[in-house]
């Protein structure tokens, strides 16, 4: 049984200009110990998707439906109170981007790391702080920093604190939302090393959300491409990088400059669609050089030996 199974997840929200279809019928699943990386350009809805899973909805949410099975239970059916007590951080935790803003400026970092233990595990404050100290050491930060405030820490250290906070309750699933986007390359590499190590040591399951396809390959066992609120390709990493199927994924990979091999890079023509008013049918159609007449109808997910792709080119090849 998959650890997490998302079926037809939908999350729309209202703005003055209209309804934004941020997450539009998204389905995928993750096994225990596996990492799924979801890549997409800015505004494709990937952050909304991560928040929809842990039920952090914008105030102006319009539609929120679908099924999310965690260890076989549909957590969408839980009441707000039960969801808070049983799912949030106990089973699913999250590493947010922009670690400076993710930490409360007026609470000591140790307290913030310890907090979930007090709430979810019923620990005393002292005991929880002791655990937090241990966890903070594990992510490579000297104990002395436990009693500091976030503004006294460097960007890399704060990101480690946020990671420690996400792991303190030993959750089943950790969502990493652009965990290194504000960091320098060497610090980023250090943080990625840490995430890899923790994954190995603790058999962690990650959902890794990023716009950086090269960085995604650092962690991903499975890759997914998100475009205009939808997942359009989903495959294990070898297959995804080795033989990308969706024209968008192909172009995305073709636009990434590489350091170690000489290859031509090419831009993707056009601009990403607006989530207020996405194109009818295949949403990539206006930018696709292989578009056909049938693309005006929305393609289903085709599965080619477990490599799933939402594109009419693969009709009949299943």
């Amino acid at each position: 049984m998959a650890l997490l199974k998302v079926e037809d997840l939908v999350m729309y929200y209202r703005t003055r200009k209209g309804t934004v279809k941020a997450v539009d019928h998204v389905s995928f699943e993750i096994e225990k110990g596996e990492t799924l990386a979801i890549v997409g350009e800015s505004g494709c809805g990937k952050s909304s998707l991560s928040r929809a899973i842990i039920r952090l909805l914008p105030r102006n949410v319009e539609t929120y439906e679908g099924k999310v099975f965690l260890n076989g239970t549909n957590i969408m059916e839980l009441s707000e109170e039960r969801f808070r007590k049983e799912v949030r951080w106990r089973k699913i935790s999250m590493v947010f981007q922009g670690a400076l803003n993710a930490l409360n400026p007026v609470l000591k970092v140790g307290e913030q790391v310890a907090e979930p233990l007090v709430i979810h595990m019923g620990m005393g404050k002292k005991e929880a702080l002791k655990e937090a100290r241990e966890m903070i050491k594990q992510v490579g930060i000297a104990e002395a920093f436990v009693d500091r405030y976030p503004f006294e820490l460097s960007g890399g250290m704060r990101q480690r604190i946020v990671i420690a906070m996400a792991l303190i309750t030993d959750p089943d699933l950790v969502i990493l939302d652009e965990p290194t986007s504000a960091l320098d390359v060497i610090t980023q590499a250090n943080v990625m090393n840490l995430l890899k190590r923790l994954k190995k040591e603790r058999d962690l399951t990650y959902i890794f959300i990023t716009h950086d396809i090269a960085l995604a390959s650092e962690l991903a066992d499975k890759m997914a491409t998100m475009y205009a609120g939808q997942i359009i390709e989903l495959a294990d990493s070898e297959s995804y990088f080795g033989k990308p199927l969706h024209p968008y994924t192909q172009k995305l990979l073709g636009s990434v400059p590489t350091l170690r091999e000489d290859k031509e890079i090419a831009p993707i023509p056009g601009t990403p669609p607006n989530l207020l008013n996405p194109p009818v049918g295949c949403r990539f159609r206006p930018r696709c050089d292989q578009a056909m007449e049938i693309c005006e109808k929305e393609p289903p997910m085709f599965s080619l030996d477990g490599h799933r792709v939402k594109c009419w080119l693969y009709r009949g090849e299943e």
């Binding site: 990492t35 350009e41 800015s42 490579g140 460097s154 960007g155 890399g156 250290m157 320098d184 390359v185 060497i186 610090t187 980023q188 590499a189 250090n190 990625m192 090393n193 890899k196 190590r197 716009h211 950086d212 396809i213 090269a214 960085l215 995604a216 390959s217 650092e218 962690l219 991903a220 066992d221 990493s237 070898e238 995804y240 990088f241 080795g242 172009k251 995305l252 990979l253 636009s255 990434v256 400059p257 590489t258 350091l259 170690r260 091999e261 890079i265 090419a266 831009p267 993707i268 601009t271 990403p272």
Partner: protein, 319 residues
């Protein structure tokens, strides 16, 4: 030779408390290099390495603390804002944030016309002609874009306008400070290609400031590496990528992933820690506290040595 920078330093004073002592952030220290006409340089470093400060000091947006800047044979180190008028026409700047670099209440036309007005170039009609031509050059149709406001354009389109503004006075040197880091991967290539085209056409020199080594290979003749205010290595692009000599450059190259599914099985050998504070930097080589091969010798500032033609390194142990 177009630009010659000698022992350039830029320190920023910071005052602590009302009557407190003044400290200095030593953002750029003792930097020397030359750039030829028509050459394109990538200046690579982490945030806080002083690369942006160096760029702005060269443009004389900051007053240098010490050292010398020569442009086209003229010493511009200590010219006043009035005396710099001609220099402003000879240089251009493209910034990182395309949304912030445009005056929001001006139309694209007005944004591009401003440099011309400020520098008293052309009559009204002539300026119009110049603006329209430059828009065409950056592949934006003047009819469609001239009278739009910045917020109506996408990041990529705005960055084209920024490039147009930088080159509208046909400068000899353009400094592009992280021009693509805020754009999506698919658009980055587009902008870098445009830069290349323009540089070839106008034969201008470009200093491309970036934190991302992987984009430099498509673009630059030479790469300069900065760390904590020092220029630690400079070499022709291929040479630097193939034979990095400074331990920091090596770490940088190691840290950057290429898309490859086998990445997930390996750990990257990068030094721990973070760059030092520039208020109180380590003596000598600034990479010493993180460097795997450092010795006591490194407490002294290493000299810059040429280890192969055009490949300069500031490290005691570089071969």
């Amino acid at each position: 030779m177009l630009l010659k920078v000698e022992n350039l330093s830029k320190f920023f004073p910071i005052k602590k408390g009302i009557f407190g002592k003044t400290y200095y952030v030593r953002a750029v220290e003792n930097v020397t290099f030359e750039i030829d006409k028509g050459e394109s340089i990538s200046l690579v470093g982490e945030s806080g390495s002083g690369k942006t400060t160096l760029g702005k000091t060269i443009l004389r947006l900051y007053d240098p603390t010490s050292g010398k800047i020569e442009f086209d044979g003229k010493d511009i180190t200590h010219l006043t804002e009035k005396e710099l008028k001609w220099y402003r026409r000879e240089t251009g700047l493209v910034q990182q944030n395309p949304f912030g670099s445009m005056v929001p209440h001006f139309t694209i036309f007005k944004i591009l016309e401003e440099p011309l007005i400020v520098n008293k170039i052309g009559t009204r009609e002539e300026r119009r002609e110049i603006v329209y031509n430059i828009l065409r050059e950056v592949q934006l149709s003047p009819e469609e874009f001239a009278f739009k406001y910045p917020h109506m354009l996408s990041g990529g389109q705005l960055q084209r306008v920024a490039i147009a503004r930088a080159i509208i006075m046909n400068p000899k040197l353009v400094i592009a400070d992280e021009p693509v880091s805020m754009l999506d991967a698919s658009v980055r290539v587009e902008i870098l290609n445009l830069f290349e085209e323009i540089q070839e056409k106008h034969h201008m020199s470009i200093i491309y400031i970036t934190h991302d080594l992987s984009t430099t290979r498509y673009f630059s003749d030479r790469i300069f590496i900065m760390y904590a205010g020092h220029l630690v290595e400079r070499a022709p692009t291929k040479e630097l990528l193939r034979n990095p000599a400074h331990p920091y450059t090596k770490a940088l190259l190691e840290a950057i992933p290429d898309p490859d599914p086998s990445n997930r099985f390996k750990f990257r050998e990068v030094p721990p820690g973070e760059p030092p504070s520039l208020v109180n930097p380590p003596k000598g080589c600034r990479f010493k506290p993180r460097c795997p091969i450092a010795t006591d010798k490194c407490d002294e500032e290493p000299p810059e040595v040429e280890i192969s033609p055009g490949h300069f390194v500031k490290c005691w142990y570089a071969q």
